[in-house]
């Protein structure tokens, strides 16, 4: 067992980080927010050329031939950079929708929950919907996240994503993880620079403890995401999504708290992390779905592993069975 990144995996991650820093750094992010450009076709093609979408496609089919662990590392970086667009859906469409692998097509998916009518992200930007025969039409909705435009689609909507649900959930969890780790960094940096009462606010324990809590949640989520990528086990994927959603959403909120009034401004990036994390938490597998899936697994877990001598709970169970 060597549950650590290999050299190649480290290099891959560093390479993607460099690429994104050069091509979608903070200024590009803010420019995209200001202009409302959710998908930059030029960037999309560059991502395609860099193998972002074709990463898991076999080499024989023109792909890079890597696996879920590598994809997770790449998506973690995308989450860190707040890279917008239907990244997961297009990645999943590689080899299925023409142009997806190369980044010449933008593919979205019906991956959002159904409450209040189906919402679809990036519909106006998309060339195709994963698993759907046609591109549906819809009414634009004012989206909470400035870089995730949403449409409400009326009528009979088809586009079965069930076969993609696990991979979609895992890659989305990786995006959340990247965002969670990034907000820890932002909070720690701000806490070291901002001074109040004659010292950096990071010297105050209340602030320190917020940051430590953020790191703990992010680290637990990180190992959950990496392990799920290695095993591809549906239960582990559900847990990874659940924990990464929590780490990203709570991480962004705690980061906002550390930033104080500055955190409540449009100027600071914190709200962008929080809003994107909210969107992703509704994608592929929600917290409630993940918890239900895990509960079902728990019930099916092999009780033979239980120590009969410990017995407290089993005895109560037996009592409960008695009339």
């Amino acid at each position: 067992m060597d549950f650590q990144l290999t050299r190649d995996q480290r290099d891959l991650r560093a390479g993607v980080r460099d690429l994104l820093a050069g091509r979608f750094g903070r200024e590009a992010l803010r420019a995209a927010v200001d202009s409302g450009t959710a998908v930059d076709r030029g960037l999309w093609r560059e991502l395609g050329a860099a193998g972002f979408f074709a990463l898991r496609l076999p080499e024989a089919e023109g792909g890079v031939g890597l696996g879920l662990p590598e994809a997770v590392l790449v998506f973690e970086e995308a989450g860190r950079a707040l890279l917008p667009g239907p990244l997961v859906a297009t990645h999943l469409a590689a080899g299925v929708v023409p142009g997806a692998a190369a980044g010449t097509a933008v593919v979205t998916a019906l991956d959002l929950g159904e409450r209040g009518g189906p919402l679809v992200s990036y519909l106006a930007e998309a060339d195709a919907v994963l698993g759907a025969p046609l591109l549906p039409s819809g009414e634009p909705v004012r989206s909470a996240d400035p870089l995730t435009p949403l449409h409400r689609v009326a009528g009979d909507l088809r586009g079965d994503v069930s076969e993609h649900r696990d991979a979609g959930a895992l890659l989305t969890a990786a995006l959340q993880l990247g965002s969670a780790l990034r907000t820890v960094e932002l909070a720690v940096r701000y806490a070291g620079e901002r001074e109040q009462f004659g010292q950096p606010i990071g010297a105050f324990q209340a602030v320190k403890h917020l940051c430590a809590g953020m790191l703990v949640r992010a680290e637990v989520a990180r190992t959950a995401v990496y392990a799920a990528a290695v095993t591809a086990d549906p239960g582990e994927i559900a847990a990874a999504k659940l924990l990464a959603d929590g780490a990203a959403v709570r991480g962004a909120r705690d980061c906002l708290q550390v930033y104080g009034g500055m955190g409540f401004t449009w100027e600071a990036d914190v709200h962008l992390h929080l809003k994107r994390a909210w969107v992703r938490a509704e994608q592929w597998v929600t917290a409630a779905e993940a918890e239900e899936r895990l509960a079902a697994e728990l019930l099916a877990a092999d009780p033979a592993e239980a120590d009969p001598a410990a017995g407290g709970l089993s005895r109560i169970a037996a009592d409960a069975d008695a009339p």
Binding site: H209, V220, T223, A290, E291, E305, G312, L313
Partner: protein
């Protein structure tokens, strides 16, 4: 990233499993929690079996009497013994997890030869005399004094919350050897025999009703200078070595146990109808996911320490924080499943619920762990 075990590791697991299957049925009945001599005998008897079978001090260095096993083998050992429901280290906790590794790392050849074999054989029990009534989280402010008199230190002061003091042969004792020095500077680490004249033990009752720990009063206790591990006044550094071991792998087996408890809890909820409550059911599902992730975090930390040559890192604080809170939530959720059934102390797990309350306090409170994470991992400034 690889979660598969090597052929060698799988072999090791298989042999261990066979041995456990044969050995566990031969164990005597568990003594009651209040029967201290019985518990000591039971725990040391188990240690002796491990020793005879070659499993004692598995991950200790070979020159310290251990087997020099890899961190992964040690992980497998803890996982399998817990799975099989084998006794845990029990009374041997401090010897195996703190004092032993510290002496192995910092002691002289003579000290290693004197103290390590009896720990591994299950002949001697150690306790930890660090905390004092006025020095808990602020451990370095400890006041128990050791004054040199010829070849001895003469020690006066008191220790508190000393686990297993009543059955211990030795105590890893922190004393102040230079009262004039800055507080972290004047401390030394000593091995004190618990039967030395002047040592008085007064059991303290825990909230669970047991006498898990005690107060230890020291009245002009003479301890040979030769019992000092590390240089005089260098005890703080030695202590940091000890504490890194404490936070390293101490909870590995327990993560496995928590997953088992959850599985039992799910069956109980199914039997008593509570499973139909979606809020409770989802809470159980979430906990299952969390403990799964904590197990993966353990594997991550172990793999990391394997790559860095076996030294436990600060990741232990991250783990302890997450684990101690998850464990408390587990037992609170169990109480929700069991309703009024959770009020009977006859149920072993109710005692576990009570004992889970100590997890955010003992071995460094959650607040202190957060300080460690913030300052040592995240690099935030120290408060003034």
């Amino acid at each position: 990233m690889d979660l598969t075990y090597t052929e060698e590791e799988r072999d090791f697991r298989a042999r261990l499993r066979t041995w456990l299957g044969k050995t566990l049925p031969e164990l005597p009945a568990k003594p009651s929690p209040d029967d201290w001599p019985g518990r000591r005998a039971y725990d040391l008897g188990w240690q002796r079996r491990l020793y005879d079978a070659g499993y004692a001090g598995l991950h200790w260095p070979v020159d310290a009497g251990g087997r020099g096993a890899t961190p992964t083998q040690h992980l497998i050992f803890l996982e399998e013994t817990e799975r099989a429901g084998a006794p845990y280290v029990g009374a041997n906790f401090v010897g195996l997890l703190h004092a032993g590794p510290t002496i192995a790392a910092e002691g002289t050849a003579g000290q290693r030869a004197r103290w390590l074999p009896p720990v591994l054989r299950g002949d001697e029990v150690w306790c930890q005399g660090f905390s004092e009534p006025d020095a808990g989280s602020d451990l370095a402010s400890l006041r128990t004094r050791a004054v040199r008199d010829g070849d001895d230190y003469v020690i006066t002061g008191s220790k508190i919350w000393t686990s297993h003091a009543e059955v211990a042969d030795w105590c890893e004792l922190l004393v102040r050897t230079d009262p004039a020095a800055a507080k972290h500077r004047g401390i030394s680490w000593l091995a004190m025999p618990m039967d030395a004249p002047g040592v008085t033990i007064r059991p303290l009752r825990t909230l669970a009703g047991s006498t898990e720990f005690a107060e230890v009063f020291l009245d002009e206790v003479r301890v040979p200078v030769a019992n000092r591990v590390g240089a005089e006044n260098d005890g703080w550094r030695v202590t940091m070595v000890t504490l890194s071991f404490e936070r390293g792998t101490a909870f590995v087996g327990e993560v496995v146990a928590c997953r088992r408890t959850l599985a039992e809890l799910a069956r109980t909820a199914r039997a008593n109808g509570r499973w139909d409550d979606p809020v409770l059911r989802r809470k159980l599902g979430r906990l299952y996911g969390e403990f799964g992730a904590l197990w993966r975090l353990t594997q991550w930390n172990v793999s990391e320490s394997e790559r860095s040559g076996g030294v436990p890192g600060t990741g232990g604080s991250v783990f302890k924080l997450a684990y101690s809170h998850a464990r408390q939530e587990l037992y609170d959720t169990a109480a929700e499943v069991l309703g009024a059934g959770s009020l009977s102390l006859d149920e072993e797990w109710v005692l576990d619920r009570l004992s889970s309350l100590s997890y955010t306090i003992a071995a460094g409170t959650s607040q202190i762990q957060r300080n460690i994470v913030a300052e040592r991992i995240l690099g935030l400034p120290k408060g003034r």
